[in-house]
Symmetry: C2
Subunit: 321 residues, 2 copies
């Protein structure tokens, strides 16, 4: 099942059930008007949404992609991991920081009050902050009890999403060195239009990981197509870590961190900082600059058949006046 | 004006306008059924709430303190500062960490999906995690635009609250050393029952700081009564820092960090870790253990006249089975 959120003038938007080809939709209706309401009542909502998912294949109305917002335009909690070891290794080079000494998943709490839609221009105050993207996968859980085991956490993963975790690199290292995590360096993220149930991915959802290439282009030029399978911890481990000492509210979104592969020389990267680290490794110096206003970033996870189950993020950066 | 939230079976509770003596209340009514709705529409809600605030002094119904939840039982964003320099200095000793090198306010994003009510038992999985309290003040803002100046941020502070930021010290240092901030070490916080408009404090709200003693007792024994005036940054500076690269959603709560004074030998502390640091300074060794299950913590900011404008937090810790 594939879900989306349409602009309707409300903060949470209108929940749509979307056809397999991503072209048509049916509104979920009054009882679960938006995805945040549905995920909070998932056991009751799922049968109705599944019925609509069957109906939309035979009917539904064409949807206008420009009306689609993030599947969750806001939520109560966004906990972003950093589960790709290759990303961690390259970021140490990019940031000039020491290796992180932990056997647990890395995770910070980020801004959940707003997720930009897939086509929405993204505002920043100044290019000098080092505007960067981070292509990720994420999962949305129902209510998860404190202390859940990883094997039980898997069943709480109800939806999978694709995320661009916008980052401001010039602000990141000083904040990281405080130990407090990131406030300035992590503004709001963006989401691809479709939140999907794990079954949509078939065998590409395996051991709590999304085994798909995440194709990223920058101003129309290929930047990377790393695969989600190389997560050091599966999403069920990230959920269990997030819930170690807290109950997770339904609608909590857990991120994978930037998708990165050991074979980065072939597949490229999912953020500029990694490319800069690779340049440092190769030549001793970073050559690629961060984003300028007006730059366009497109991100689309694709199956071997060329399908894009999450749809695409396709956005430009703009100056916030 | 003094506001509270009464249990009514909904996630956000029922907004009440409370009398100056904290004893009586009037429901705000259907248009702004809860505080999260009111703060999102503050300019429209304020005149109506002010009318009710006048009415409640002449009438209203007695409120049962056991029915009061946190003023905001959940919100979209909780950004906790660490604005008391004395707290920072003592925590370095308690944690055995290096001084933090920054001229900006310290701040992390914490769990906002749940704030425990003032009398609610607070569940933890194990005492070995080092259960500690942190007595703080906080402010609730309306929508704040990205890049706001501190002098403009002051006007966005609509309500002031009193918070216990529960902390798990055994988990804190390893997380801090990752640079990612705290997930495991920072479970849900608690709030005192009344959110108040700044005017309630009169001259005790000064330069964006709450000039009140925060009286804390542990199992009935005085623990500390540090004053909120010694914040290195006022709340308006904390709000501006929080909004440096993000719009703040209405209902965002900004915390002061643990209230601490340079004269800690006289006024005591607002968390156990600080007392342990003071013991280390005095004797070379921490003597005070962290909390046990069943321990009771009471926190109450008081005026020189002995009034408690926020009411009191009075809670016991319990084991989560």
């Amino acid at each position: 099942m594939r879900l989306a959120t349409r602009e309707n003038g409300t903060p949470d938007g209108e929940l749509l059930v979307i056809s397999g080809d991503g072209a048509r939709g049916i509104a979920a209706g009054e009882r679960w008007p938006n995805l945040l309401a549905a995920i909070a009542d998932w056991a009751a909502a799922l049968p109705r949404l599944s019925t609509l998912a069957a109906a939309v294949e035979a009917g539904g109305a064409a949807i206008d992609p420009s009306t689609l917002r993030a599947p969750l335009p806001r939520s109560w909690q966004w906990l972003d991991g950093s589960a790709f070891a290759t990303h961690g290794e390259l970021m140490q080079i990019a940031f000039g920081t020491d290796p992180i000494d932990t056997v647990k998943p890395l995770m910070y709490q980020g801004l959940s009050a707003r997720f930009y839609g897939p086509l929405e221009p993204v505002p920043f105050r100044q290019e000098a902050d080092g505007i960067d993207f981070e292509g990720e996968f994420g999962v949305i859980v129902d209510a998860v009890p404190m202390g859940v085991a990883p094997e039980d956490a898997l069943g709480h993963i109800k939806l999978i999403v694709q995320i661009n975790d916008w980052s401001l690199r010039a602000l990141a290292v000083p904040e990281m060195k405080t130990g407090f995590g990131w406030i300035e360096a992590k503004p709001a993220c963006s989401m691809a239009p479709f939140a999907i149930t794990p079954d949509v991915l078939g065998g590409h959802w395996c051991e709590g990981r999304v085994h798909l290439d995440l194709e990223i282009s920058w101003n129309g030029k290929r930047f990377g197509n790393a695969n989600g399978r190389e997560m050091q911890f599966g999403f069920h481990h990230l959920v269990a870590h997030a819930a170690a000492t807290r109950d997770l509210v339904a609608g909590t979104i857990i991120g994978s961190g930037t998708v990165a592969n050991a074979g980065y020389r072939e597949v490229g990267s999912s953020c500029i900082s990694e490319r800069r680290a690779i340049e440092i490794i190769s030549t001793g110096q970073a050559a690629t600059a961060f984003l300028s206003f007006g730059d366009r970033i497109r991100m689309e996870a694709v199956t071997p058949d060329g399908e894009a189950p999450f749809g695409a993020i396709d956005q430009v950066t703009v100056r916030r006046e």
